[in-house]
């Protein structure tokens, strides 16, 4: 494991480092992973230089490992994010996030007339990718059948 001399955020001993987050998506990811409710030590960096992305954000969570389904939730807003599992200061696993086929529980349906916005219940979406299966993913509500586009995406707190 080679350390970047210019690393702007201190290294952690054990835990999870989420890298290559678009700077604009940082606060959405904090909501999605409910990091504001965490008691573990967490370090955020944003507007950091990135050769690939211009600017990026990074999240380091001490002593906590995220489950893959938890990690994949962030793929919607950070499709190129890389999740590094750190053990004893070394990266032991690098995971590329994948957009799941289904999303449950954390995204809000953008349709104000949707039952999920009027009743205490969970939300559920199928991830669709437009006409030909390419293109940006969006969320089709399993209840009202309307599509929530990523730029409308709100996270349920």
């Amino acid at each position: 494991m080679k350390h970047d001399k210019k690393l702007e955020v201190t290294a952690i001993e054990n835990g999870t480092v989420i890298d290559h987050i678009p700077a604009a998506s940082l606060f959405k990811i904090i909501d999605i992973l409910r990091l504001d409710k965490e008691t573990h030590r967490i370090t955020f960096g944003t507007n950091m230089e990135s050769k690939r992305m211009g600017t990026k954000a990074i999240i380091k969570i001490n002593d906590r490992y995220c489950a893959p389904e938890e990690i994949n939730r962030i793929a919607l807003v950070a499709p190129n994010a890389v999740v590094n599992i750190i053990e004893d200061y070394a990266v032991t696993k690098k995971l590329q996030v994948e957009v799941p086929d289904e999303i449950r529980g954390f995204a809000k349906c953008a349709n104000p007339k949707c039952i999920t916005n009027h009743e205490q219940m969970g939300t559920a979406f199928k991830v669709v990718r437009g006409v030909d299966g390419r293109g940006e993913p969006s969320l089709k509500c399993c209840y009202c059948e309307k599509v929530t586009y990523l730029d409308q995406l709100q996270i349920i707190k």
Binding site: C114, Y143, C144, V147
Partner: protein
């Protein structure tokens, strides 16, 4: 033989659609079969719709069932702040099947997840109205003797009209050819055009009824509502373009029939009513047989 719900027209396979058609024809031949004798149908109209409610209640009564419920939420537990969840759980204990209409989109789907009895969606806002679609299909089948390869012209509000969207989805299963007639502001949403493209189905888009009416088996009229237009000048300009008049039916195919989900306002001139090609009132009658078929099928009694 099933115990499922009908929430969205896409919940039914081609085979199931055909089975409903068969059963509706059976009930039309003999409408006094007491298939639901001793059963209780709950009819929950969180949003009033007299026409749809009467059609369902007539169907339930013809089947020998008893009907409980409400025709509007006024003065029920719903207005006293009870959650939708609790209303459904309670009513499911009192009945064998629940028919529901609401303006909350997706509510019937949620009900089907928590209810122990089948749910029939009688319309949820702008989303789905599958029993209307099935009665439209039955009307097409009855007048054309087939569902495969129908040439259909859909006229009016193709953007917001949920009956149009569901009918397109259902007829796509049977390889229809579509002529879409709408003002630019109310044209069919892209997702449904994509849907047709994906299935390799051809469709023609135009802003006027024109000569194409001579090449179709079915004309499906819908209401063009003033409130759908951001520009009222535009509404004034187009409102008369989407009116069907008797003289426009000269030279059309002998098997042509005119359908309309009703209520109509002025989009079909009254002089069409006496034309044998007008079918919208018979279409309403077909609704009762189709709803008898749907309830019997969902309860596994047919």
């Amino acid at each position: 033989m099933t115990d499922k719900s009908l929430i969205s027209i896409t919940d039914f396979s081609r085979e199931e659609i055909l089975r409903i058609m068969e059963l509706a024809a059976e009930f039309e031949r003999d409408s006094s079969q007491q298939t639901l004798q001793g059963k209780i149908v709950a009819s929950l109209f969180f949003e009033p719709s007299t026409r749809t409610r009467l059609s369902f209640e007539s169907a339930a009564n013809r089947l020998g069932a008893s009907v409980i419920g409400f025709s509007e939420p006024g003065n029920t537990s719903v207005t006293k702040g009870e959650s939708f969840h609790d209303t459904i759980m309670t009513v499911a204990n009192y009945s064998d099947i629940i028919v529901m209409r609401t303006n909350l989109e997706g509510a019937p789907r949620y009900a089907s997840e928590i209810s122990r009895v089948p749910i029939v969606n009688a319309g949820d806002g702008a989303n789905q109205h599958p029993t209307q679609t099935l009665l439209d299909l039955y009307s097409i089948l009855k007048t054309q003797n087939r569902l495969d390869g129908i040439s259909i012209m859909l006229v009016g509000d193709l953007k917001y009209g949920r009956t149009v969207h569901s009918l397109i989805q259902a007829l796509a299963e049977f390889g229809a050819r579509f002529t879409l007639v709408a003002p630019r502001e109310l044209e069919l949403p892209q997702e449904y055009k994509d849907f047709l493209h994906e299935r390799g189905l051809t469709f023609v888009e135009t802003t006027e009824i024109g000569q194409e009416i001579g090449n179709v088996d079915i004309v499906y009229m819908t209401r063009v509502q003033r409130e759908r237009f951001s520009d009222t000048m535009e509404y004034e300009r187009v409102k008369n373009v989407y009116v069907l008049r008797n003289e426009m039916l000269a030279g059309t195919r002998p098997n042509l029939r005119i359908l309309h989900p009703l209520p109509r306002v002025n989009e079909i001139a009254v002089d069409v009513d006496s034309n044998p090609k007008a079918y919208y009132f018979e279409q309403t009658e077909n609704g009762v047989y189709v709803r008898m078929a749907i309830m019997s099928y969902l309860l596994g009694l047919k």
